[in-house]
């Protein structure tokens, strides 16, 4: 008899709760567009926010409602844009995928430190402490806020103390650029063409040359030599307009500290380490 009571009581309770929940689900049903789910499945799902929406699901909603473009997902690139466009029956618009570029080549062998920093491993904190431990107040501190920010494991701090971007892995979401307190990382359209002044310092020439072997000293030699007038001085720093640059390479020859590089020849970690080894044998 006891077992019947027990089974009946539990069964009844379960049934009651079940019915109640079913009613509640019907009553409080939320209409979700199946298309939103389908679009969401096509997205990388990293929730990086590069599209300008809160996450992948809110971007999916925006695309379906027509508010966002099909190529709005930057990490997804062309493939995702194509897939979404096919799903929604819209035209494919290709996206120019940007890539993170580090505008500082003052690695720890070419720059001077003001003092030994032994604090929190965070660029922002270190940069706010007496203007950072590097003599250059604009250069990369190499503590890796950008590395922390990257969701795709595409950036790391090399042994020379500067961030190294893995172009293959970089999706162009721009999280590292946002994370850099000194705005050293900039997002540029992917490609090998065009020259860049790899310096971020707006200090006067004399100050720069004391702080860094390879910083832009604002001598204007490149501005004078450029046949396309693609280089302008902005607040003691030469800036090259990538649209106008024809890759003639004249500025590279003229630059006294050697700050200008073609985009496919940006100094690598290995080069920096080789330079350090050379310097060490020289001083010995």
């Amino acid at each position: 008899m006891l077992i019947i009571y027990a089974v009946a009581a539990l069964g009844l309770l379960g049934l009651l709760f079940g019915i109640f929940l079913a009613l509640a689900a019907r009553f409080f049903a939320v209409d979700t567009d199946p298309m939103v789910e389908a679009v969401k499945d096509e997205l990388p799902g990293a929730n990086c926010g590069a599209c300008g929406y809160a996450g992948c699901s809110s971007f999916a909603e925006a695309v379906v409602s027509g508010e966002a473009k099909t190529n709005g997902c930057i990490p997804g690139g062309d493939e995702t844009a194509k897939a979404i466009a096919e799903l929604l029956g819209r035209e494919v618009s290709s996206s120019a995928q940007p890539v993170a570029t580090v505008f500082c080549i003052g690695d720890c062998f070419k720059t001077e430190d003001k003092f030994i920093y032994d604090g929190v491993t965070d660029c922002e904190v270190a940069g706010n402490f007496i203007g950072g431990f590097k003599v250059c107040g604009y250069g990369c501190l190499g503590l890796g806020n950008c590395v922390e920010a990257c969701l795709f494991d595409a950036i790391k701090i090399g042994e020379h103390g500067l961030p190294v971007v893995d172009v293959e892995k970089c999706t162009g979401c721009g999280l590292c650029a946002k994370a850099c307190p000194r705005t050293i990382i900039k997002m540029l359209p992917k490609g090998e063409n065009g020259h860049l002044v790899l310096c971020n310092s707006h200090d006067r020439g004399k100050t720069v040359s004391k702080a860094c072997e390879v910083g832009c000293i604002a001598c204007k030699a490149c501005v004078k030599v450029c046949p396309e007038e693609a280089i302008v001085m902005e607040d003691n720093l030469a800036v090259i307009d990538l649209e106008k640059c024809t890759d003639c390479g004249k500025c590279v020859e003229k630059c006294p500290p050697g700050t200008i590089f073609r985009r496919n020849a940006i100094p690598t970690e290995e080069q920096a380490l080789a330079y350090a080894a050379e310097k060490a044998t020289e001083s010995a």
Binding site: L2, Y5, A6, A9, L10, L13, G14, F17, G18, F20, L21, A24, A25, F28, A29, V30, V120, T121, D122
Partner: protein, 193 residues
């Protein structure tokens, strides 16, 4: 009145559910990494714990006791808590999508939070009255929140601290939890029911 006040004090500090009774250690360690999520989880737990105790107490007193089925309490309470969490999720999704998104995965996770079960079971075992049970549930959940929020605050600071490799991550978290628990031991014996 005096009993209610002492229940509140006892179950927030003296018999803190996480730090003295060691219930709900999983969410305590799992969601205490960020203050934001810790507060979200705390809010959800306060709500579910109070609601669950309310329903289970009524069920126990008016169904299980009259039919002599008190040995079924664990099974029934599980049923109640699971359906309640489900209900909260459905309702919340409709009424406040923002809060629903904010709580995210923590809402369903509460189903498996043993602290919720413990409150329901202890309320009937201690033979609390209806009002006392509800106050007990609120106090216990506030105690849970207190522990979670203190832990989140400490862990946010620990993130920035440099420490030896062996201590990093869960090691230092467990040590912190132990020290916190020791600190709460100081309340022991201040009040008893």
């Amino acid at each position: 009145m005096e009993k209610l006040l002492s229940i509140i004090f006892i179950y927030i500090f003296v018999e803190n559910f996480v730090l003295q009774r060691f219930f709900g250690i999983c969410p305590f360690l799992g969601v205490s990494r960020k203050m934001e999520t810790a507060i979200g989880m705390s809010m959800a737990v306060v709500f579910v714990m109070t609601m669950a105790t309310l329903v289970t107490w009524l069920l126990y007193t008016f169904v299980l006791v009259p039919f002599n089925l008190t040995y079924l309490q664990i099974v029934t309470f599980i049923l109640v808590i699971a359906s309640l969490v489900q209900l909260v999720e459905i309702v919340l999704r409709k009424i406040s999508p923002t809060l629903y998104q904010g709580l995210g995965i923590f809402l369903p996770l509460i189903t498996t939070n043993c602290a919720v079960m413990a409150v329901a079971l202890l309320a009937v075992r201690q033979e609390f009255s209806f009002l006392e049970s509800v106050v007990f549930a609120i106090a216990a959940s506030i105690g849970f929140s207190l522990a979670l929020i203190i832990m989140a605050g400490i862990r946010e600071r620990l993130e920035l601290a440099e420490m030896p490799d062996v201590l990093q991550g869960s090691a230092v978290t467990l040590i912190t939890a132990g020290i916190l628990s020791l600190a709460f031991l100081g309340f022991k014996g201040m009040l008893t029911l």
